[in-house]
Symmetry: C4
Subunit: 123 residues, 4 copies
């Protein structure tokens, strides 16, 4: 059965704070793309990163198994290259099957953490 | 009269922090799906939870009476099984009548609370 | 000229914290519906509030002049009745002309304020 | 190749806090419109600001090169006039090519920063 969602998503906001307070990894400043695949087949996902002053990076490849969610930390993306800290970026997420995407950030640069989230934009 | 909204919604982000600061229950770390039924008949809602490394849990059944809102704390879902803490999940919300769904989290793991919210994604 | 947006919007989350820290009115815990009328005629707006265990309240009437924005604090709605504090609610916003609606909350119950926002759901 | 997105976007919430704590410019209270142009041609963008009690300001002109993102701080908009602090506003963003827009705010009026974000509303 095909899952719900769309195959192309965009997140125009992106920024991994360079500093953190609190125990790792839960309280490390991070940025996440939450991917949900409600379908019955694995979704092959490609993430491309856009910057202010250079050509895009990627694609970063992630697979989300049938009936699973993957909360992908941009901090953990290293192939083909790590995501720079303290740098503005944006992302496009393309999947070969329908998925749902939500964006969130935990910022723990100061002693108390701040959070934000939004559903991504679907094409 | 039929209410406004959709019958299928998804929230790709989900995580109930295991710790809290401040008076219960208002300041307990929690995650909420706010359900609004503006119609004139009760809406029967089923919530299914998706995880990273196991099959989905649920359905959890909630009913939202005519012209009412229910702010469902995922912390309180126990049947058919409690929602694990400190664990990534996602949710799909299906209703037999149109509803509107918004997602929010209060995180009070540190002394000062953080908040986030987003309208859910509607199929 | 007609403005951009929709005539019916819903915000399923709603909760005005009963307490605050910091100088009033900027740092008073509050919940806001930001209304934007980009058109060339005044928009007559009606807000209806939904609760968990009683019939809806309202309509509360607000007008947004041509080419203006009104950031309506739910705290300030008093006619036909004040909005209760520390109480879950939701809202539906109907306008006779297209508008755009965004929801936000500032929570200053603890010493440091928390923020959240989302575009409202448009019918 | 044409990029993904829309040509008209609105952000009904807008407010630049007048005060800040922490090192500039990262921790300065600010409000941002993140613009993503995934297409192969430069996007010419015009931002118009709406207020509560005066006519709109702008257009402010920004260009986003092909395959780039620009995280525009409203704090930095000065031509045709600076954006007032501690003042409610809203914005409409028009582009001659498809873009994706996300809104966020960092509020550091108190010692610990708060964050919020949402995808903008697309016409």
């Amino acid at each position: 059965m095909s899952g719900i969602g769309r195959q192309t998503w965009a997140i125009a906001e992106g920024y991994i704070p360079g500093g953190s307070h609190g125990p790792e990894p839960a309280m490390t400043s991070h940025e996440t793309a939450c991917l949900l695949n409600t379908g019955d087949e694995t979704a092959a996902v490609e993430i491309t990163l856009y910057f202010t002053d250079r050509e895009p990076a990627g694609p970063y490849r992630v697979s989300v198994e049938a009936r699973r969610t993957q909360h992908v930390r941009f901090n953990d993306l290293v192939d083909p290259e790590p995501v720079p800290r303290d740098t503005d970026y944006a992302s496009v997420i393309r999947s070969d099957r329908p998925i749902v995407v939500q964006h969130s950030r935990l910022d723990s640069r100061q002693a108390e953490n701040a959070l934000m989230t939004t559903v991504a934009w679907s094409a």
